[in-house]
């Protein structure tokens, strides 16, 4: 039986965006603390800290979860995917491209969580209805957009991913953790719209 005493620290091993990591944690750390502070993966945002806003959504073994409500020690041996893992080989994920095209990003704080909730949806259901999309992002609050642009972006990304065929993007987790590599043009575009990092 693993035991981590009050105030003690221990090392946990798990995968982030396909790469194996080891991080030192205390019993009180949450997954979001490990990601943002231990691994400097600051794409994941902390909003409410009590599981109501979805800003901190990441995928744990493929399922969207609030990383503010996952004890770090529960992640031992499991797979985590964060927004940093969406872009592949210097190309944004179709969802990220569609979010930019549809102005689905305003202040940007909800965006990483929205993207991860949407990525989980499209992996399970490549051809969602608007109703399916609304349900999939019902755990993610956005106070800027009114959601319509976000839903349109997800619909559009789904269309694009279906056209590109399976495995086109977002299905694998082979990249090591780190900041996404993006083209200069996309970088400027993201930068001009997202001031939340």
């Amino acid at each position: 039986m693993r035991e981590v005493g009050p105030g003690a620290r221990t090392t946990i091993s798990f995968k982030v965006n396909g790469g194996a990591v080891e991080v030192e944690v205390s019993a009180e750390d949450r997954l979001i603390d490990v990601l943002r502070e231990g691994l400097r993966l600051t794409g994941t945002k902390e909003g409410c800290g009590i599981g109501e806003c979805g800003a901190c959504t990441v995928l744990l073994d493929g399922k969207p979860v609030n990383s503010c409500l996952v004890p770090a020690l529960q992640v031992e041996g499991r797979e985590v995917e964060t927004v940093e893992g969406l872009a592949k080989d210097g190309r944004l994920h179709p969802l990220q491209e569609a979010f930019i095209e549809h102005t689905a990003v305003q202040c940007g704080f909800c965006t990483p969580g929205m993207l991860m909730a949407a990525a989980a949806l499209l992996r399970e259901n490549p051809d969602p209805t608007r109703e399916d999309i609304a349900r999939a992002i019902s755990g993610n609050l956005c106070r800027c957009t009114g959601y319509h642009q976000i839903m349109s972006a997800i619909e559009s990304a789904a269309r694009r991913m279906r056209a590109q065929g399976p495995g086109a993007s977002g299905a694998g987790t082979s990249e090591p953790p780190g900041a996404p590599v993006v083209s200069e043009a996309s970088r400027r575009e993201i930068h001009s719209r997202d001031s939340a990092d």
Partner: protein
Amino acid sequence: MSPRKLGYVVPETLREASEFLREHAEHARVIAGGTDVLVQLRRRPERGRTDGLRWLVDISRIRGLAGVSSASGTIRIGALTTHEEIARNPIIRKGAPLLAEACASVGSPQIRARGTIGGNIMNASPAADTIPALVALSARVRLSDLGGTRDILITDIFEGPYRNLAQPGEILVEVYFDVLPPTCRSAFVKLGRREALAIARLSCAVVIERDGAGRVVRAAIAPGACLPMPARVSSAEEILVGKVPDEATIDAAAREVAEEMVRRTGVRWSTDYKKPALEAIARRAIWRALGVNVE
């Protein structure tokens, strides 16, 4: 999590978990999906749930506590089964559809992917979505401890809001109930402040069985988020039993649910709102359990 210093243990067996829980009694608390415990740890110590807490006992790695099975007319749900798994499970959707509806209405996709039915029961929130459904199903829970297990009716596990009657060392391992026969229909109706991420302000779970002539032979009505303790409202059930329900009968049963709430809780500041709202929720749930969708 919080400024307090907490320890964390990850037992691999029920025995290890029970031993640790016995040893640390009120200083230890079971955690599984964490969707209630981590929220309570972040808030100022309220309702005494986290006072003096020194240890979290993570039972999520104990084998054999997750999953749904059905045998000899009984459905068993392991304590670690998540709301998402229950909402999607074909055995539940066929044999206890009101529980699938209740689980589908919990929190958000993120919460449903993590929150467990065992946690929902043991956290004993008055607004827990699964509890009215389980009460209407006359579910029983199995508690495991070093000496063995004991099975009790779900309504006997609650001591009051956010308090359960498990002894130190006792761990909820499963909840089980009879499969609803094809002559039964059920419904769970919830009123929240909005569609998603809303805790139930009021809810109502209903199971109704009818004979070939359409007469009600059995009714179970369990309102949620409005009684001091989870319970059925037998006085409302009795209004339905033996009758082929018409609008007036259904209205009378729904009114009785609301009146019984007032009798059990007394008149409160919220009664002016809750009484007609519960009556409407109960009416909807009864109609739906008779196969009619009404708004």
